[in-house]
């Protein structure tokens, strides 16, 4: 007991009440206007969060305030915050680090990588790339269902568990991918809703949700902040965007995919859709042959799912006709998957992390480095297939046509 009491004394120097700290819940970084960076911080107002929205303080963004500063480095900005915030700023609860797209395309490695050293910073924060400026996103991306903006950020990002289009990648994953030879890092793609949704798509031709990505969702109402798709990096610079379906394929191959809903053209009625819920059957099977100059990658993604809607009323539920739906889903997904892989090859960045399987073919790290996966991936020959099985057909076992 004496010993434990003695040891606990060392905590006295760090005594601080939680409500005497300015908890920075999100950091935004843009190209600076008067300095290198415009740094935006979302700081919690614990009193407003604690009141649970009473007196108009909760929801709608009253549980936090947003400050933008012109700074040279992030941690310098953190201290600068104390010039006008009456509490010590702290990054321990930072959920998001948001980079503006312009800065991301120039290169952000010098801003995020040094954070790994800083004690307050936690590697399970998320990195987001916003289509516009991070400052605008954080100022206008206010929660509606939540009083607690930190919970809002975390819940929004945790959508990776039940959508295909939100990557699971945290700072930890992003950092590892950035420093591992041959791997392409992927960050969450975020944007503010386009105010004039008429401009997003020029016509009303059918488009499945898989073609959307953050900032390109035609909608009205709801919170303005959107997270959808991924921003792909090579050498610390953003090189392209993955839309919803493309992000889903990356997750399927990496093993972080949980479920999605896919609308595929009806095999008998091309203007209508069969809608299936898709889940992984087992982990994707990836094999890489590194013999010769050009690597051969074979990918097979075993999926399963349920038919949840048939617009045409065709009786695909019958055992003999289920393969029709399975082939239709496979055709659609195969086409999209191959296009996505080709896209990453064009960018020269292995966002699928095929390299993790390729390095199994080498006995030493030196041999693997000499092979130089990054330079070979763009020319790799890829054989990608999806194997889909229908397991259930929902709550109907047949469809009676609607009478004329």
């Amino acid at each position: 007991m004496t010993v434990l009491v003695i040891l606990s004394l060392s905590g006295c120097w760090n005594y601080q009440e939680p409500d005497e700290i300015a908890w920075v819940l999100a950091l935004g970084l843009d190209k600076g206007r008067q300095n290198v960076l415009t740094m935006t911080t979302v700081v919690a107002v614990p009193k407003a969060i604690g009141s649970g929205g009473q007196g108009g303080n909760g929801g709608g963004g009253k549980g936090f305030f947003v400050v933008s500063m012109e700074v040279n480095t992030i941690l310098e900005g953190l201290e600068l915050l104390n010039a006008f915030v009456d509490r010590r700023a702290d990054l321990s609860h930072t959920a998001w680090i948001v980079f503006g797209r312009a800065l991301a395309e120039e290169g952000i490695d010098r801003y995020y990588a040094p954070l790994a050293r800083f004690r307050q910073f936690r590697r399970n924060s998320s990195i987001l790339i916003t289509q516009g400026r991070a400052a605008d996103l954080l100022k206008n991306g206010k929660p509606i269902l939540e009083d607690n903006v930190s919970k809002y950020y975390q819940l929004l990002q945790q959508g990776w568990r039940f959508t295909e289009f939100i990557p699971r990648d945290t700072f930890h994953d992003f950092y590892i991918a950035s420093k591992t030879p041959g791997v392409g890092a992927v960050a969450n793609l975020a944007a503010l809703q386009d105010k004039d949704e008429q401009d997003i798509f020029p016509n009303n031709r059918p488009k499945d949700k898989g073609a959307y990505y953050a900032g390109r969702i035609p909608r009205q109402g709801g919170g303005r902040l959107e997270i959808m798709g991924g921003a792909v990096f090579r050498g610390g610079k953003m090189v392209g965007i993955l839309d919803a379906d493309e992000m889903g394929f990356v997750k399927m191959v990496r093993g972080t995919f949980r479920r999605t809903i896919q609308a595929v053209p009806d095999p008998k009625h091309p203007d209508k859709y069969v809608i299936v819920e898709v889940k992984p059957r087992t982990r994707a099977e990836v094999s890489v042959d590194v013999e010769g100059d050009v690597p051969h990658i074979a990918v097979r993604i075993p999926l399963e799912g349920d038919i949840i809607s048939i617009q045409s009323g065709e009786n695909y539920e019958r055992a003999s006709r289920i393969p029709l739906v399975e082939r239709s889903v496979e055709d659609y997904l195969n086409r999209e998957l191959r296009a996505t892989i080709a896209k990453t090859q064009q960018w020269g960045t292995d966002a699928f992390e095929f390299s993790s399987k390729a390095q199994r073919q080498f006995f030493t790290w030196r041999a693997w480095k000499v092979y130089d996966w990054a330079s070979r991936y763009p020319n790799a020959i890829v054989d990608a297939t999806v194997d889909f099985r229908v397991r259930r057909v929902g709550l109907l076992h047949e469809t009676i046509p609607i009478r004329e």
Binding site: R119, Q359, F362
Partner: protein
């Protein structure tokens, strides 16, 4: 025979706990840091080689102890190389123990400051550690060993929990390429960092306090447990951070605990694991202080070791403050103390081993001559 040193008698379990902690507690510090550069994706093999090396060194040590019943390594030195030679040998052991304990104290202090209490001055973190450890050391070897046994249960439970909660963050591809930096680099790394196993020589010191007939069991179990701790901590950090990122980190187990994030409620777990590190530090530092005092006592053939506890603590604290910064402390630890120490400590033991063989042969010749004469 020092009276106070004759008295402590501990059970086999306590002896295993205290020895395993003394050897293995470095897993919670920076033990793994230099290894990743030699092993890359196959770094987990280096602790396995360390264990093999420890077992290889154990056999001559046990043989030496068998040939000198009822004596520890200092008393054997007294018998084999005389008082002056033994004074030098004891001084060498004391210096090694002060260096090991002092640098461990500094690293644990630095860990508290950098991981948990950034506003606490390093002097206070170190001071409170040394005060607590000195109290335990003053209570005697029984207290240290029994505390180590009780702490050991808490440490084992906490460590298993840490490993278990980190499983969702493992990337099993991280162990490929299986050969890492290649056999030559791995073996070189294991030899250069062999000082990580230098603590096994305390078996030659604590032999006086443990059931002598169980020394083999104590040795095997303690090296085995420490080996599992060292190898698993090296492997888990590799699986979580993957090479080359893992080679950047300076306290891998702390970073592993910080990465745990299972839902909104199971995160920021390092505070729960803090007692694991505190208790392992206490066990290691208190035993280090006790051994410094007891080696001195045996070497000077004095009856009591308690008067040396406080000077030992002062020496350890003084050494802890010699490095100007944590980088210097690490470079002392990795670049000097742990580099080849295993072999440096092995030399005097080999000397005693050789002299014992010579003595036995001479003894045998004399017996044969006496038989012939008779």
């Amino acid at each position: 025979m020092p009276k106070q040193l004759e008295n402590p008698r501990i059970g086999v379990k306590e002896a295993i706990a205290v020895t395993a902690l003394f050897i293995g507690a470095k897993a919670f510090l920076s033990y793994q840091v230099p290894l990743y550069h030699y092993g890359a994706t196959a770094t987990w093999m280096i602790p396995v080689l360390h264990v093999a090396l420890a077992f290889a060194a154990l056999y001559p040590l046990l043989w030496l102890l068998d040939r000198h019943p009822d004596k520890n390594i200092i008393q054997i030195g007294q018998e084999m190389i005389g008082p002056y030679g033994n004074a030098a040998l004891s001084a060498f052991f004391v210096v090694i123990l002060i260096a090991l304990t002092g640098i461990t104290l500094r690293e644990f202090g630095e860990r508290v400051v950098s991981g948990f209490l950034p506003d606490t001055p390093i002097s206070m973190a170190v001071l409170l550690f040394i005060v607590a450890s000195t109290v335990i050391a003053f209570l005697g070897f029984d207290a240290i060993a029994r505390s180590a046994y009780i702490f050991g249960i808490a440490i084992a439970a906490g460590y298993v929990l840490l490993i278990g909660l980190s499983i969702p963050f493992w990337r099993l591809d991280a162990v490929f390429p299986l050969g890492g930096m290649g056999a030559k680099s791995i073996i070189t790394g294991a030899v250069i960092t062999s000082g990580d196993m230098v603590e096994i020589f305390i078996l030659g010191l604590i032999i006086s306090f443990v059931p002598r007939n169980a020394i083999r069991k104590i040795s095997y179990w303690s090296i085995g447990i420490a080996g599992v701790l060292l190898a698993s901590s090296t492997l888990v950090a590799l699986l979580v951070f993957t090479y080359p990122v893992v080679s950047e980190i300076n306290i891998p187990t702390l970073l592993v605990s910080r990465i745990i994030n299972i839902g909104r409620f199971l995160q920021r777990m390092e505070v729960i694991f803090a007692p694991v590190w505190m208790l392992s530090a206490l066990a290691q530092i208190s035993l280090g202080i006790y051994l410094i005092s007891s080696v001195t006592t045996y070497a000077l053939r004095l009856p009591y070791n308690r008067p040396f506890i406080l000077p030992a603590a002062v020496a350890v604290t003084a050494l802890a403050f010699v490095p100007n910064n944590v980088a210097e402390a690490l470079s002392w630890d990795i670049g000097i103390i742990r580099r080849y120490t295993f072999f440096a400590v092995g030399v005097p033991l080999v000397l005693l081993y050789g002299l014992t063989i010579l003595r036995d042969r001479k003894g045998g010749d004399r017996a044969e001559k006496q038989q012939e004469n008779s």
